[in-house]
Point group: C2
Chain length 297, copies 2
Amino acid sequence: MAAFNLEPFMRTHQARVEALLLERAERLGPAGTPPRLAESMRYSLLAGGKRLRPVLCLAFADAVAKASTDSAVVLDAACALEYVHTYSLVHDDLPALDNDDLRRGVPTNHKVYGEPTALLAGDGLLTEAFNVLASGPEPVRGLLCAELARAAGSSGMVGGQVLDIAEDRPATLDYLLRLHRLKTGALILAACRMGVLAAGGDAAALASAVTYGEAVGLAFQIADDVLDVTSSAEAMGKPVGADAEAGRYTFPAVVGLEESRRMAGELVARAEAAVRPLEGADGPLAALARYSVERKS
Amino acid sequence: MAAFNLEPFMRTHQARVEALLLERAERLGPAGTPPRLAESMRYSLLAGGKRLRPVLCLAFADAVAKASTDSAVVLDAACALEYVHTYSLVHDDLPALDNDDLRRGVPTNHKVYGEPTALLAGDGLLTEAFNVLASGPEPVRGLLCAELARAAGSSGMVGGQVLDIAEDRPATLDYLLRLHRLKTGALILAACRMGVLAAGGDAAALASAVTYGEAVGLAFQIADDVLDVTSSAEAMGKPVGADAEAGRYTFPAVVGLEESRRMAGELVARAEAAVRPLEGADGPLAALARYSVERKS
């Protein structure tokens, strides 16, 4: 059987996300938002990227609803996920954390707008995610806010970032798994769960989303570490080898390149199996799982 | 008629808030929160303070419900407000913004835990506010999340902070009013509104909360500026005269000390009038309005 052709699916859904972000970005800043702040938030939101988290959210909503879902809740959930992802990049890039100059091939937010505005733009993006997600009459919005807050908070992304900067972290696979389940995995998992919840999926669909989201979240990070070793700076849009130079613990550094690839492959297979009840032998979700490790940037 | 005696009311409600924060702080950090992050978040959350925002939320809920409200939604709203207030203090104190060493009489978060952890503790507190507020079955939680996000976001506190650090800000009363309506006023207004909404108040009660919250929010900031000129460092728990030294625009600097006091008095009278339909000739809300400008720290 021919594999599902992800390319047109990805193109269509990324375009949907870009259009949504652009439309909302234009509304960022009536009623009192200082223009410079709105510009700084837009700069990072609209700087491109794979839009993996919103695409996963839309793809799960599509799969659960058995048709394209254009409900406001689903679209708002997709946008909120990208807001939170973008906030985390803006803050991670700050001098106090990674002190990065380039992101997605362009200067980082603080390099363009200065550190004070970048810090506040990150705060603004994190807060606006909940504004987008909570503003509307549907009762499910409260549940979605709780999902997003748990994924982003101190036992999610923020917790993972703290583990990542800890000076005494051990170079063990256990620590690396714990770190990335929080730092990258939690939001990818939330994207899958939120797609199901926003589209009204049942408990079985939610269980599929959990198995898939956990596996893809981890596989994505392993692939990121592998790319950092093997890819070119041009394809990544940021300096490569940076992880190793900063003395960071990566999957290739801890378990080797081949074992990292084997683990990623096993996780993808687990993710593919988890979504078979939702989309049959092959579909966009299975293809997205493969994409998470086969991508070139 | 004797004025309402705020002191026992304030003591009881502050103690309620402290107990709530302490109870939740102990739960900050099961399931994966790194201990150092949880400690840093607790450090700033439990460093004292007047707890004005949660007390206003509880007082409005009490007034609307005509009895003490112990519903989970009201208590969670009160806590979420203090989480957001504390996050804003932690981020404002960072070297990228005010670079303050002291807060509430003790070293600022980044002085104790370092800048990276303080940045992330702020992010964690902001996110956990929505976690606390969204986690529960009551449909009103989504609405409360939207209220809090609007107050905290780019057309609220974050927007106000950007106006405050703008290099080209004009020394006019208009600009100062706009700045403080966002930076301090938005969250105080939200505290009042959220108390009414969480306790199921009607549209008339909400209208009272809006008039009162806008007036008290502004009066509170004017009083802060006046205290900065007239108070001692000991009473404030932070260096005084710092605003003027940093070349900041304050109400006394722009309109003079006497006009600042006159404006604050007028705002308090407006707030007292607004809550008369809720609590009669004098009650805790009217007394809280007076306290917002008569406090010594």
